[in-house]
């Protein structure tokens, strides 16, 4: 199994890495809605320049970014042809009932462009924010909901443990697939056959997941875990001047884009 390209954290020490996760999550949301609210080419140009600057600041290797974009190629391809041939307008080229229009080319190009912006913006967040920080950010942002008895800390704990065990699980699946292949198991063939052949992998995975859960629960018990409001956290999030500055810059960007339309 290959490492998941989307959501991969690239450890680093850039200014984006050091921003408060809550600020980053908020800003990402804002940046991801903008492409749906702007129309003028100048707005797109400004936004693109802004995101390009962020990419440079984050110091993400271009190859990693490219790999991430590649994962949405399938959808992009589909969207492109959908918009290309279904947008009414002045035909450039017509083969029978299918007509290629100038408007279609523009619309298709625009959609792909938007999709790319969205993917890059979202991955900037995950590239520069460790899963742990994301969890912290989420926990902090949701904490007001504790008043309506939503078990936010427990949810954050569950999320953390899930994140902790993703790599372990990947390794285990990989090892089991090999062990069963060495016993002649065949993971090729049609989907139905393949599904049946996955039994020798998924039964042991479930068995071991239960055992792990059991051992982990014991270890957590031994370390005094209990679900009470007495729990404290070592790491507390602080908004610094950097974070304020970042928010101001994004506010400025939004106002500019509103002005440009």
């Amino acid at each position: 199994m290959k490492a998941i390209p989307i959501g991969m954290y690239v450890p680093g020490d850039s200014i984006l890495h050091r921003l408060d996760p809550r600020v980053k999550m908020g800003v990402t949301l804002v940046l991801m809605t903008i492409p749906f609210a702007i129309h003028s080419p100048w707005s797109y140009l400004t936004l693109s320049a802004f995101i390009a600057t962020l990419v440079l600041l984050a110091g993400v290797p271009p190859r990693t970014l490219w790999r991430t974009l590649r994962t949405v190629f399938g959808i992009a391809f589909l969207m492109f042809f959908l918009y290309l041939f279904t947008t009414p307008g002045e035909p450039l080229l017509a083969v029978g009932p299918i007509a290629l229009t100038w408007q279609g080319v523009l619309a298709a190009g625009g959609q792909i462009y938007r999709l790319c912006l969205l993917v890059i913006t979202a991955s900037l967040l995950t590239f520069t924010t460790s899963p742990m920080q994301l969890t912290h950010g989420l926990e902090a942002m949701l904490s007001p909901l504790e008043r309506v008895r939503l078990p936010v800390r427990e949810l954050a704990m569950v999320l953390t443990i899930a994140l902790r065990f993703v790599p372990t699980l990947q390794e285990e699946i990989d090892k089991l697939a090999k062990a069963q292949r060495a016993r002649g198991a065949d993971f090729t063939g049609g989907p139905l056959r393949r599904a049946r052949n996955l039994v020798p992998i998924f039964v042991p995975i479930f068995v071991s997941a239960f055992r792990r859960a059991d051992e982990l629960a014991t270890a957590m018990d031994a370390r005094g875990f209990r679900s009470t409001p007495h729990r404290t956290r070592m790491r507390r999030l602080h908004l610094g001047y950097r974070d304020l500055l970042a928010m101001l810059i994004v506010l400025g960007l939004v106002l500019t884009l509103i002005g440009l339309g």
Binding site: A3, R63, A179, A182, G184
Partner: protein, 288 residues
């Protein structure tokens, strides 16, 4: 079955920040029926190497030949060759998935396309080889067995394929001393009975010393020693260098030698070391 490893290099996650070279230009020649110990610290490439021998990985460069045929080539010949290499990963009981011991052990032979009579014969043979009674244990659900019994079932499920090369990765990990001793004895018996090639990855140097005739040591993806067991495992400097424990008898004899005593240091077992000291101290004649 003759095994030949040619300039084998394996790089994980090539082209990513996590890139790691696990094997670097490894060359090996293993004759049919040899008993080999593979040693090295965690991350030295042992498990990558054995996975290549079983045809479970694609080399970055280089190749592995089984009986003269490249193991990675497509087609039925290469596949049937790959299936003649049995590989037991660490904690092999983790791979058990069937509802009865019989079906678990029969999984491999059935994948080989054997008829049911032959499958049954093989399951019986394999369970007997690991010291389990086929009539009593065969119908049981694997998870009702003890840890030691599940380990044996898993090993039987590999033996039942009648591999000509058997690779065991830390076969006794997590067992208590009694279980360990019993299992090591069994492994020796399998080899004697079938004449298969045996490749054992283990940190248990004393047990290796009793079982294998040749030891290959890996460090950082390269072969750093390959020779008779007695030679490699008494090379204290090499072992320390690659982060392994020096067998205590060897360490003792070396300390005595440094203290000016005239003793040989290539005695790997407590009994051998005691005999060596006894003769050097004039308690009995050398070799007696």
């Amino acid at each position: 079955m003759h095994i030949r490893v040619e300039n084998l290099t394996h790089i994980y996650n090539q082209g990513t920040p996590l890139e790691r070279t696990a094997l670097h230009e490894v060359n090996l020649e293993i004759e049919a029926g040899e008993r080999i110990g593979l040693v090295g610290p965690t991350g030295s490439g042992k498990s990558t190497l054995v996975q290549h021998l079983a045809g479970l990985l694609q080399p970055t460069t280089g190749r592995v030949l089984l009986a003269g045929t490249p193991i990675h080539s497509k087609g039925a010949t290469a596949r049937s060759l790959r299936l003649q290499v049995g590989l037991a990963f660490q904690y092999p009981e983790d791979q058990i998935f069937e509802q009865s011991v019989f079906r678990e052990v029969a999984f491999g032979p059935r994948n080989l396309g054997l008829d049911e009579t032959e499958v049954k014969a093989r399951v019986h043979w394999a369970l007997e080889m690991v010291g389990l009674d086929p009539a009593r244990i065969g119908p049981r659900m694997p998870f009702t067995l003890s840890g030691g019994e599940r380990r044996r079932v898993a090993l039987a499920s590999i033996l039942a394929m009648r591999p000509r090369v058997l690779i065991l990765d830390e076969p006794t990990a997590g067992q208590d001393p009694q279980g360990r001793r019993a299992l090591w004895e069994k492994v020796g018996q399998w080899q004697q009975e079938t004449g298969m090639t045996l490749i054992i990855v283990s940190h248990a140097l004393e047990e290796l010393a009793r079982l294998v005739e040749r030891v290959i040591a890996l460090r950082a993806g390269r072969v750093v020693a390959d020779g008779p067991t007695r030679e490699v495992l008494s090379d204290a400097r090499l072992l320390r260098d690659i982060g392994l424990d020096v067998p205590e008898p060897v360490a003792l004899l070396q300390a005595l030698r440094q203290a000016g005593k005239d003793v040989r240091t290539d005695r790997l077992l407590p009994a051998e070391a005691a005999a060596e000291i006894a003769s050097a101290w004039g308690l009995r004649r050398a070799g007696a």
